[in-house]
Symmetry: C2
Subunit: 248 residues, 2 copies
DNA sequence: TTACCATGGATTGTATTCAGTGTATACAAT
DNA sequence: ATTGTATACACTGAATACAATCCATGGTAA
C-alpha cells in the first residue's frame, strides 16, 4: 500500500502511536486547569500561610519553595514577588522573605480601614445595584442560612456576599482599596465563622444589610455594614484576649 | 600602596584596564544605584506611561520592552507583572499586555475613594503626629512655597507632603489602600500642578490642612482634606471638559 | 586580644534556552 | 465562494545556567 492510496485527508500527517505515548506521559504545563504555575504557587503559599502550615515569621527562600512545590524558581519567584507586593511576605534583599506577622494593633488598624471602606461599598450598592444583583445577593443569603454549621461553605458564601456588594458598588478603585486590605486577612488565622453563634449573628447582619440595599436606603446600609465590621472586630479581639501579641 | 588597598569591590578580579573599559561601556547591574533592573524597568515603564510616550491602550510585549530598555526579558517580565497587579497594565494571557485606559467616569470613581481615604489619613495624622513629623510637614510646605512655578519640584514636594501625612497616620492598611488607588494616577496624564494658579490654591489648602493638624483638630483636618480632594477633581474635570472620554 | 580583611557559602538577580499556546494565513476540499 | 485543515509565526510560560551580592567566619597582623 503506497502512501498515495490514502483516500482522503491527504494533507493530514500519518497517525503515530509513539507520539500518543509521548503526549500521555508528559507533564503538560497547563496541568492545573488553565492556571499558570505561578498562580498555583501563589495560591499554595497563601493557603499554607492561612492554614498556619507556614508559620508567621517563617523564613522562605525561592529554592525551598520551589522544591516544596516541585517547580522551578521562575514561577515561585513570580509568586513570591506578588505576595510581597500584597504584603503577605516581607522581602529581605538577598536574604529571602519573611512571612509577615500582624499583632493586635495591626488588626485594629485593618478593621479601622474596613470600617471606612465596606460601609461605603454597601451604600454605593444600595444606590446602584440592579435587580439581578439583588436577586443574586438574596440567593447567597438563602444558601448561607442553610449551612450555618458548615464553616467551609460559610466562608465561601460570606466572601461571595461581600464580593457581590463590591461589584454592585461599581467602583474599581473601591474594589482595589478593599482588595489591598483583604490581602492580609490570611495572616489573621482562623475565620470568625468557625464559631457558630457568631456565624448566626453575622448572617443576621447580612440580612439587615441586604434589606437596606433592597430598600435603596444607602444611609441604613452604611450604618448596618459598619456595625457588621465592628462586630467582627470585637469577636476577633475577644478570641485573642488571652494572647494579645498574636492574632493568628 | 599594594593592589590590596583598593577601597571597595574587594571581590572583583584583579585590576584590568581592558576590563575597566568593558565595564564602563557595559550597563552594570548595579548601575542605577542599588536598584535591580526589574525596578528600573518598572519605573521606566511607569514614567513612559505617565508622560504619554506609551499611549493608553498600547500593546506591550516583553521582547519589545526588553529591547527598548536594553535588558533581557526576565526583569521586564517581573516589572510588567508588577504593573499588572497595580492595574496599570491589563494582562492578556499569551498575548502581551495593554496599557489600561481610564475614562472620566473612572476618574470620578478614583476621586470618590480618595475623598474617603485622604481625609481619614489627615484626621488620624492630626491625632497622632509627633512634633518631629509636624516640623517635617512644615518644612515641606515652606519649600513648596518657594517653587510654586516649578512643577517638577512641586510634584515631588506634593507627594512628600501626602506621604508624610500618611506615615504620621500610623496605619499600614490605610497606606496600602491609598497606594492601591494612587497606583493608577500615572494614567491620568499631566499633573494639576502644571497650572500655577491651581498650584497656589493647592498650596493654600496644604497650609490649611497642616494648620488643623498642628492644632490637633482632627475634624477640621478631615474637612479641609476632603475639600482639597474635591478641588483637585474639579480642576481635572474642567481640564478635560472638552474631551470627556480621555482624561489623559 | 582586637581589628581587619579575605574567603566561602547561601541567596538573589539576570540571561538564555526550550517548550507550549494562540492567532493568522495559505491551501485543499466541497 | 466557502469551509475546514494544516502550517507559520509571534509570544508567553518555565527551566536552567551563570553572575553578583550579602553575610558569617576564620585567619592574620598590629
Amino acid at each position: 500500500m503506497t502512501p498515495r492510496s490514502r483516500p482522503k485527508r491527504s494533507l493530514r500527517s500519518r497517525p503515530d502511536d509513539a507520539a500518543l505515548k509521548r503526549i500521555s506521559s508528559r507533564r503538560v504545563p497547563e496541568g492545573g486547569g488553565g492556571r499558570s504555575l505561578a498562580e498555583v504557587a501563589c495560591d499554595e503559599i497563601r493557603r499554607a500561610i492561612r492554614e498556619g502550615r507556614v508559620p508567621t515569621g517563617a523564613h522562605l527562600t525561592e529554592v525551598d519553595v520551589a522544591s516544596w512545590l516541585g517547580m522551578s524558581r521562575t514561577p515561585v519567584r513570580e509568586a513570591m514577588r506578588r505576595l510581597q507586593s500584597e504584603g503577605l511576605l516581607l522581602n529581605q534583599p538577598f536574604r529571602g522573605a519573611l512571612v509577615m506577622r500582624l499583632d493586635a494593633e495591626d488588626m485594629q488598624q485593618m478593621f479601622a480601614v474596613r470600617e471606612l471602606l465596606e460601609p461605603a461599598a454597601a451604600a454605593a450598592c444600595a444606590l446602584q445595584a440592579t435587580e439581578t444583583e439583588m436577586r443574586a445577593l438574596r440567593g447567597v443569603l438563602e444558601r448561607e442560612a442553610r449551612v450555618l454549621g458548615d464553616p467551609a461553605a460559610l466562608i465561601l458564601l460570606n466572601r461571595q456576599f461581600h464580593d457581590l456588594i463590591l461589584e454592585a458598588a461599581r467602583n474599581q478603585f473601591l474594589g482595589r482599596a478593599i482588595a489591598a486590605v483583604y490581602a492580609l486577612i490570611p495572616l489573621l488565622g482562623d475565620s470568625n465563622l468557625l464559631d457558630e453563634p457568631h456565624a448566626r449573628a453575622a448572617h443576621a447582619q447580612h440580612l439587615a444589610i441586604l434589606d437596606a440595599i433592597e430598600a435603596r436606603d444607602a444611609a441604613r446600609a452604611e450604618t448596618v455594614a459598619r456595625e457588621h465590621v465592628r462586630h467582627s472586630l470585637e469577636h476577633r479581639l475577644a478570641r485573642i484576649a488571652g494572647d494579645p501579641g498574636r492574632p493568628s
